[in-house]
Structures are given as C-alpha cells and as structure tokens.
Amino acid sequence: MPLAKDYLPGTHHPVSDEAQDVRSAGRSQKTAVWLFIGRRLATTPIVLFGVILLVFLIVDLSPNDPARASLGLFASEEARARFAAENGLDDPVWARFWRFIVNLLHVDLGSSVVRPEPVAQLIGAALPVTLQLMLLATVISVVLSLALGVLAAQTDGRLVDRTIGGLAALFQAAPPFWVGLMFIQLFAVALGVLPSGGYVPIGDGVKYWFSSMIGPATVLALPFTAAMTRIVRASVADELAKDYVRTAKGAGIPWLTILMRNVLRNSLISPITVLGLYIGGLMSGAIVVESVFNLPGMGTLLVSGADQGDLGVVRGVAIVSAFVFVLVNLVVDVLYILLNPRAAEAVAE
C-alpha cells in the first residue's frame, strides 16, 4: 500500500515526550505566590503613608480654624493665640506632621474640639457599627448575586434571565437614599415589621440587633448586588461555554456538580476583583445609609464632624476608612492570587 507506513504499532515508546518538569513548575508557582504576597505586604505601608500624608495636607489646607471651632466665633484674639500655642497650631507643617505620625503610632488620633471624648474613642465606637453594616451588606450581596447570577447564566436568554437582568439594571440605577426611604416606608411604616432606624448593639439581643441592621444592610447591598449579579452572570456564562464543561458533561458528572465544583470556582476571578473595588464603595454608601437609618457609624460621625468643623474627627475618620479600604484590598488581592495562581506567575515574570 502506498499510504504512510511511518507509524509502527507495537513499538514501545518510553514516555519521554514531556518537555516540562512538573515538579519545577509546581515549585515555581508556589514561590511566585509567596513572592506576590510578600511584595504586596511590603508595599502596603508605603500606600498607607501616602494616604496619611494626603489626608493630613488636605485637612491642614482647609480654611477651618480649630481654635474658632473650639472657642466659638466670638473668642478674643488672645484666647485664640493661647489655644494655638497650647496645641502647636503655629508650628511649621513638617513639625505638625511629625507629631501627627508619632501620635498615630500610639493610636492617638487627637481630640475632638466639640466633644469631650478623644477622636480614637469616637471612632472606636462608630467603626464597629459601620463594619457590621458593611459585612452584613457584603454577605447579602455575595449570596444573592451568586445565586441570581448563576441562575441567570443557566437560563441564558430566557424569561428568568431577562427578569434578573432588568431588576439588576433597575437597582443599580436607583439612588440609595431613595431606596432607603422607600424601604422604611414599606417595612417600618406600612408593614411595621422593622424599626425605622436606630442601632441596637448585638449584646442587647441578636434578634433586636438583626432587625436594626437588616434594613440598612439590605439598602446598602442592593446596588452592589445588582452590579455583582451582572458580573457573575457574564462570568459564569463565559465559563459554561468552555470545552472543559463539555468534558465533564461527557464523563457523566451531574450538572449541579459541574456548576458548583468545576465552573463556579473558575468564574469567581472577575467577581472577586470587582468585590474588592466595591467594598471601598460600600464605605461611602454607608455614609448615606447611616444618615437615612440614623445609625451611629463612621458616616454619621464624618458628617457631623464636617458640619461642626471638627477637623480632628474628619481626619480620623478619613484615615481609618482609608486603612480599612487598603486592608480589604490586600485581602482581596491575596484571595485572587490563591484562586488564580497563574496570575502570580505572570506578575513574577
């Protein structure tokens, strides 16, 4: 026969076609992951220093006069000068910045000019409220957006998918203060099942705490959930179209297992990136929502501080919020690398 006879069945070929050494690949990947995390940890203080400098300068350059805020508009020039001397207000900028940094390292954020408590203590009381609000909102968003996003991807183009897409567009566009007021109108006024506002610490009973938090957390979560749902949907739909899904299906793996164990993990990479960005947004969203629901959190503190020209409070809230934002992003980045080690290798190279 004139056809190819290059292939000789029966000849034993040793398995030596493998160019790449699996062991070295595995090791270099692990190294790359740790290298990435190390580098990320090392750059974090630099970012934080930049944030501190920026916040200090902005507040310093603002026309607010702490002496006037403290002593009142009609204080004598003499009293103002004494106040300035006592608090070192007339020192050069670098000296004040240095004092600020040293105090910061001692967890001293200065004092409020309006209230008797030091700023650190005010933030210590307000931060947990905001963190609870953000955490609960994140949990609600993640759970809802995963469920809805996967469902929408599954029913690609059908009524369920289109309904979810429409609702997502609606809630992404609706302003949170309006949604908040409607929420209170519906659940507190019309149905009377939730309080209209106020905060109950978790120590006073989980049930009361939950009913005080669920409203603001839901309102805070809604636009975030809407955005995340669309991203999860797109990401899962992309992943479902890939060949390996067919491989798993062809091997007889049940659909739910394919979805939960094979597809979802690979689809999480872009939602997690977005999650990191949005958590920062939650912080600013919290300011509005806290005002609407009258929660004593960071947002309320910031707004009252700004209203009263209480620069110490404004500066403290800004710095602590920035710290939270930077730390959350650090966690998200590490999570992202652990989910997608190839990105670490790419960064390393």
């Binding site: 026969m1 004139p2 056809l3 190819a4 006879k5 290059d6 292939y7 000789l8 069945p9 029966g10 000849t11 070929h13 398995v15 076609d17 493998e18 160019a19 790449q20 699996v22 062991r23 690949a25 595995g26 990947q29 890939k242 060949d243 390996y244 067919r246 491989t247 798993a248 299906k249 062809g250 091997a251 007889g252 793996i253 049940p254 297992t257 164990r261 094979n262 993990r265 690979n266 989910l339 997608n340 080690p341 190839r342």
Partner: protein, 334 residues
C-alpha cells in the same frame, strides 16, 4: 489487496452492534436555517470495532461525534435514531442518558488544553469521574494505564503545567475511567507533533485491544486511519458518501470524493512534483447544494447529479454516487 468480498459488515464480524445510527439529521436553525448539517446519517459500530470517520474540516464529523456522545449543543435540532445497545438514546430518561455519557461512551477530545479544567488539579478532575458508577481504577492507576509516570506529581499538577502529550494522556484516562463500551476519539492527535502523535495513537490502540472497547476515530488523516482502523466512513458536507473496509475503500475508492482524497494523500506520499488536490473547497452549510453536495467540485458531474443519489449497497461497500468509479477502475492507477 485480496479483493475477496467478505459479504458481511465488520460490525457483524465483531459481534453485535453497540451503536446504530438511523437516518440521523442535525440542523442548527438559528445559525444555518433549514439545512441539515448532518444529513440522513446511517452508521453502525460493532462491539470492539475500530471505525474511522474521515472528511475535510467542516464536513460535520465532529458534530457527528458530539451527536453520538449525546453532547449536541442546545441550539441543535436532531432527528432520527441513535441506538446504544439497542435503545434509542434520545428517548431515554435524563438520568439514563447521563449514565450513558461516560459509562457507556467515553470521549477523547481534540484540544486537551481547553478540554481540561484549568482551575482544577488533574487529580481532582480524575477523582470526580472515578466516583461515578462503572469506575474501578483509582486516579493513579488510570494515569499508569495511559503510561504516565510520576503519577503523584501529575495528580497534583494543573493542566497548564503538563506538556501536550501528557495532557492528551490525561484526557484519555478521563475517557476510559468508567470503562466505556465505546470511545469516540475526535482528532485526538491533531494538536500534537508527529512523534507524540504516534505514541498517543499507539497507546489508544493498545488500550483498545486490551480493554475491548469500540473506537469511533474521527480524523482527516488518511495515513493514521489506514493504519489504525478496520472500517471507514467518508463524509462530505454532512453526508456519508462511502463506507466499507478501510483498506478496500482507500485502495479502490468508488466515490469520486474518496478518490480525490486518496490521490491527494498519495501524491504527498509519492513525492509528486505537484500536490494533487480536489479543486474548490467545502461549502458553508448555508450554501450546501441540493442533490449531490459534492457536484460543484466533481469531475464526473452531469445533470442527474442535482438529484440526490441513492445509497448503492454492494457487498462490503456502500456509496452514494450517480457516476461511481468502476470497481477495479482505480486499482493500479498509482
């Protein structure tokens, strides 16, 4: 070649048919309109038989592989019967269909890189298949059966950390994990270089003769096909134009398309000055011709070719052509 008519189909020689396709047509209405991308396919595979599906790119051979594996995308509309061990697959319950996928029919895909999950280790991917019914071997044993050494490391590795040959072996291990009766291999070696290609084909063949599964080998490579399969079906534009024993069909093609394929391949082998080729190219499905779909490229075309040719059944050979080459016409042509 002996030229002795066996008078029986290989499927009958090898025992009962495990897969029988009757009048299978597949359309993609949203993409190609009313045209059948697979048109009236009739085919059977005997237990333990090695059958080749051969044709140019775009002739529908991969779609046929997916149809056999019950993996057609939801946009496909299929008509006809695909019987697995005597039962029509498409009328079975969902859970029964799922048990056929993997346990009845295993698939080795063309592109091992994209066909493995990039986010899961090889070990987890094998384990989740080994948990299903029918699987007897452990993931490590499976890797050994496809002659992969260093199993512990490979089990831990992600697909992108393996070489092309290793990935293809993993894919074969996945397909064989649940001891299927039929393995569909859709161009399992096109993404590999020639030496690795030979190793993978030899591995598949060894496994096939040891485990006794039937092999549906989809390829455009006549050399590989002639080496590794017993029976062949030539496809053109979604239709099967000729079937028979591989050696006989390739040596003595009756359909002009088969003859064209063979002479193109032969001219390569013989080192002719000029590569012989079939003029033109396969049409896109939306412009498939009525009647004989090959007629615009055929040198023997006449008016009658606009009528669809009946399938001529000669002993040991089926073909669909109004003007076939005479039985011995092509013998000695080379």
């Amino acid at each position: 070649m002996s030229g002795v008519d066996t008078g029986v189909r290989m499927g009958e020689l090898m025992g009962e048919d495990i897969l029988e396709i009757e009048n299978l047509s597949v359309r993609f209405p949203r993409r190609y309109g009313p045209v059948s991308v697979l048109d009236n396919i009739n085919l059977s595979i005997g237990s333990g038989e090695r059958l080749a599906i051969v044709g140019e790119s775009g002739c529908g051979k991969s779609i046929l592989g997916l149809a056999v594996s019950d993996l057609l995308p939801s946009s496909a509309v299929a008509n006809g019967r695909i019987e697995f061990l005597g039962t029509d697959v498409r009328s079975m319950s969902k859970s029964r269909r799922r048990s056929i996928r993997g346990q009845g029919i295993g698939i080795v895909y063309q592109d091992a890189m994209t066909s493995l999950n990039p986010g899961m280790s090889v070990g987890s991917q094998l384990t989740q298949v080994c948990k299903r019914s029918g699987a007897e071997a452990t993931p490590a044993e499976l890797l050994e059966s496809v002659r992969l050494g260093e199993t512990r490391r490979i089990l831990r590795a992600k697909p992108y950390q393996l070489s092309g040959g290793q990935r293809q072996r993993v894919l074969i291990a996945l397909a064989l994990a649940r001891n299927p009766r039929l393995v569909v291999a859709d161009e399992p070696t096109t993404a590999l270089d020639v030496t690795v290609q030979a190793q993978i084909m030899e591995l598949l063949l060894n496994l096939q003769s040891n485990l006794g599964f039937a092999l549906l080998f989809i390829s455009h490579d006549l050399a590989l096909v002639s080496e590794f399969t017993q029976r062949i079906a030539i496809m053109y534009a979604g239709q099967i134009v000729e079937t028979g024993l591989t050696t006989e069909v390739l040596q003595d093609p009756r359909h002009p398309y088969t003859a064209g394929l063979v002479s193109a391949s032969v001219s390569l082998e013989e080192g002719d000055d000029e590569l012989k080729s079939i003029p033109g190219q396969v049409r896109r499905p939306e412009s498939f011709l009525e009647g004989c779909r090959f007629r615009d490229r055929c040198e023997r075309v006449t008016e009658i070719c606009s009528v669809r040719p009946r399938v001529e059944e000669e002993p040991g050979r089926d073909f669909a052509c109004h003007h076939p080459y005479a039985k011995t016409a092509s013998v000695g042509r080379n």
